[in-house]
Symmetry: C5
Subunit: 307 residues, 5 copies
């Protein structure tokens, strides 16, 4: 994710980082070249290559704008919902740490050890989730876990679930050892359940893309529209056609490509969510709640980019 | 559901799988033929067959775009809500498995058996639900269930409810046998309630289509619009009319047909939800939570399609 | 509600049932007649009766499309929210039946009788609600209730609340008689609360229409727009004006009238919700949960219509 | 709020009550006069006063339609959310009355008195809230309350909170006197919490208007657009210009003014929410739940208007 | 946030406070100058500087309107969601104060002291949050806190979490000292959890801006569109071009700039949320709930502005 102060109006036109322009440059160039050829061809063979079909194209273009707007909205909603899921993970993990302070207050040192052991598991959870969600990501399994658990996480197809199951197992053990009452167990379990919900919702967004037919239809019509534009307006625009066509193509391809990026919010694209940094924030929070003095630093953006 | 890497720009135009083009090919052909006839007729009888009625048609087309956009949005929302219901089923079943580990921790072997018996029921639930929701689907009833229960599921009009009732009956039995306290029962019951909510919401989406009058109005106007297009623009477009009309028809019919497909998200169409695969994922998760070593494989897509 | 398989393209144009065309036929006829008169008048008195005012009308028409689209969206949301409330009623009643099996497991025959008595009340609830919500509906009060309660329901302005109060009273009685613990009572009460929420939300939708000024403004402008259309395009369209005007009027009046129908989702219109059938489904579910052998049949659609 | 049967098509054009036309009549008249002057000036001085600038105005008008549509949507959402908050208040108060029947069942006469005293407070709550939310409203404080409490409500800036605090204080007192267990207290408290949420959400809607810059921008552009309209189309429309301009102004000003009215849903405008009537409904419900025989009548609309 | 009575129509055009016009004045001036130059250049060199490219620009402008509308909607949603988070903070803090009255009722003076100590922490929470969320804000740490806690808050990167942890620690201490039962603890903890959720959601909105590529694309296209406008319509508009272009630029730049302001709802801009005032409201509420006589005054707007 790109985090930077609002640039001035002038620099605005020259920022490349985070701009979608890098991804759609080939298509824009293609539109530019086609437009130039059409202008030339139309000048030489006006009867064969038309240059003023604008009216139906305008209708077509407005229809595509409306549909593209809806798709963009849907993609943005996925992106924002994904961030909300991580927000849920953040408040559930913090809530768990906050409530578990009961163990210390009620059972002294042994409670403190039990809490420490639980929170160590919770700290690992978001890191494991990053490995699971990020395409090409690897699961980070820290040495703080027991070798068995490390192995189980590595072997599992749903590593976050292994961790949650282990947390529940430890909570049940504390209940058995009478370090937790039923109600205290239920309080802590409610936050574990929230973590499970956040994990399942992230999975949903990660592995259920927008309906492919939808994407396909809009890609195709947006591209065809842009490729046909010079036939619509070269009479009017003359040598300005390539520039105006490319500008319109920038808008349409740009929104289309941004939609693609937002559709998969857990990727590494410049507009994707910085889930790695969020996992770091959770770790920082939990270690602070444990009272550790030597906290890991909060994740910093590098060259305006937070991953 | 189609899951595939983003195709390159060039292949994008030649993908048929998942494209809506297969379903709307007849209508597109019809528009093409009508357009060609109109162009010919207009050339021969320009006074009788008009060819430049574009202005009111443009207005009509924009209005239809707006309304079609709204319908598409509503259909997409149904599809995504259906996926959310299955997400709810996933986290409720996992949560149930996670919490029920209490039984093992607190009551040893007898607790383990009780948990096993409960989770066997939960594993069957999504499979039965697939049979119930998918048009033409059959209920899968595994031999792991008792013959009585199998028969009750087969006889019932709402087989998922039979299973949920059975789960609650067993939980109440465990409460009676003092293997669960009231609060532990309530914890588990909250996830059973979530399963019941997910089931009822799936039923709602499955058996309450979009208002028929809505669908009818948009189908009719979209078709009439496309059939009338050549009368609007053949003066301008000449022999290009059939191509441009067909292109616009592709956009409008395509969105309309995609809306139809997304409206019934539990079908077997290429853009429908892979609920069979999701049931397989739940089974995998629960068996893993039970500690089984020999897990069923996760569902794989076949030819880019996950059912 | 109309439930039918997707009709073929050809029959699509000749379906009347569920089409909004029956309701807006007078207005469409009016537009047709006015258009014809305008065409004649314009031919005879082109200086007095204009025929090519299209440009500002197009702008006006697009503005109305956008606003009509928003209104339609709001009406559809009401309709869908109403269906969700009934979904909530469905899962809350089922959940209540499912949880109350505790009574049988823990207290044998006396528990069974208590459960039966509670569920008899729950079965009546949706039927009473249908009578309350459906304009012109009558409250169905079955003989299974005590005469006092029947009378109280008949006398009350909010009959569903009388039933819910009675359920809570019986639950409190069971608590007093130590057939329920506090926590078990709370579990059951949570579903009663859900029923109360569903009832209150249905009331909200039923008795709070869209702001009247909103409806009025859109009705007026949509009608004026359609009546003025022939002045805009009769120069261009000639004798085709009445047909095109009527087609556009069909779209605008149709959406407007559909909005009216969806705004009151509990009515008896062909696009309204089948709440009577849903009450039947709940009764079927609950009787099945009670273990009754002789279940009432599920509601069937008659001539594609489910009420 | 206006509640009336759908008027016939003919009367539709002559209804003033609830129509926004009364509020925007001055502006419409202004547009009419300006248009007439422009037509005259354009006829006399066509070189100085233009009359056919339609094209850029159409673009401008469509853009404003889109933005106005969004603002209207936001205002309607506020209105509907405000109604939902009152729905929440309705079901929370009813739920409280329903659950508190426990007190009667478990503790006989003393429980009945305690319940009566609690519900008397709850009955006053919505009335006090009406006084708080309605601009220029007065707080209704009934003599049923103790003088101290009456005084505290009058003195407080947040009178509803004083009542809720008093309810919680009494509940805690019942807990101390062992008339409620912890769990029963929690059940009742959950509904009190719902009331507190509804109150806070009403406050939010009442005291946080739409961003002022948003309102300002749309007011200005909509007005400028309507005042400039005659310059755009008087060539085409001639003496029809004032009529068409006024019609378009009616649509734009009407939506804008409706948005203003819906933005403050607790006012006394004809399209605002009947919160006074809703408070009466709650009082009716709670008195009925208490078993009172002599119920206050349900609020009736006067001249189609419910306040 | 600007809170003022609806201005009259005439003054509407001359309000600067809260108008976005101050921020976009340079760009509007630029458009005005460019337009004037284009008109002059077009008059002198009509073959080189075109003046009637309106058609494709109209299409482009409508597309941008649709996309800008969506972005504005997303920004407004962020702003409103931020206000909802503060609403949640309000009802959670009030709910906490209301429930904690139990301590007084059940444990007399020592309970009162414990409650006082808890609520002192809660009062500080929103003030600390303002310092955390507002760009350039400072954390207000009142002397009422213990020096250790003050130091911890100052040192922490997430100061609100430090407070919430301290609240939970004190609650657990009360549980240990048997001043709270498990269930009472759970009641209070549920509101603490709500506070934690509100805090995490505010953080989400504060630190996750809209995808930068989205903002960039719309800024660029909106600016290019406005700079190109005079080439589109100077033939038609003549010397009116600079005025009409600037008017259209006002609409587009204005919405764009408003979107920027709403995107960061915790800033100090005139359309941002008055979180400082809301923190004051919470303090007022809680002190009143404690029964303090000398309440701090409610925050007042200064020159129509509430911060």
């Amino acid at each position: 994710m790109i985090v930077r102060p609002r640039p001035s109006l002038f620099t605005l036109f020259f920022i490349l980082k985070g701009s979608i322009i890098m991804r759609i440059f080939p298509q824009m160039l293609f539109v530019f070249v086609v437009s130039t050829l059409v202008v030339i061809a139309h000048r030489d063979m006006p009867l064969i290559v038309p240059g003023s079909l604008g009216a139906p194209f305008a209708l077509f273009g407005i229809a595509i704008s409306v549909f593209l707007g809806f798709r963009n909205n849907a993609c943005y909603d996925r992106w924002w919902e994904a961030r909300k899921c991580w927000g849920q993970l953040i408040y559930a993990t913090r809530g768990f740490a906050r409530q578990s302070v009961m163990l210390c207050e009620l059972h002294g040192e042994s409670g403190k050890a039990a809490r420490r052991s639980l929170i160590d598991l919770v700290i690992v959870l978001p890191h494991v989730l990053v490995g699971y969600l990020r395409p090409g990501g690897e699961q980070m399994v820290t040495p703080v876990l027991s070798p068995d658990l490390r192995e189980a996480i590595r072997a599992s197809k749903m590593p976050a679930e292994v961790l949650l199951n282990q947390i529940s197992r430890q909570l049940a053990g504390l209940r058995r050892d009478e370090m937790l009452t039923d109600i205290q167990l239920k309080m802590l379990d409610e936050n574990v359940q929230q973590m499970g919900i956040a994990v399942a919702n992230c999975e949903r967004i990660r592995f259920t893309p927008l309906p492919f037919g939808y994407t396909l239809l809009l890609h195709r019509t947006a591209h065809l529209f842009c490729f046909l534009l010079p036939f619509g307006f070269s009479d009017l625009l003359g040598w300005g056609t390539p520039f105006v066509s490319t500008l319109i193509a920038y808008t349409f391809f740009g929104l289309d490509a941004l939609g693609d990026e937002l559709e998969e919010p857990f990727g590494l694209g410049p507009n994707d969510l910085p889930i790695n940094a969020l996992a770091g924030v959770i770790e920082h929070n939990l270690r602070e709640a444990l009272g550790e003095a030597d906290l890991p630093p909060l994740p910093q953006r590098v060259d305006y980019v937070l991953t």
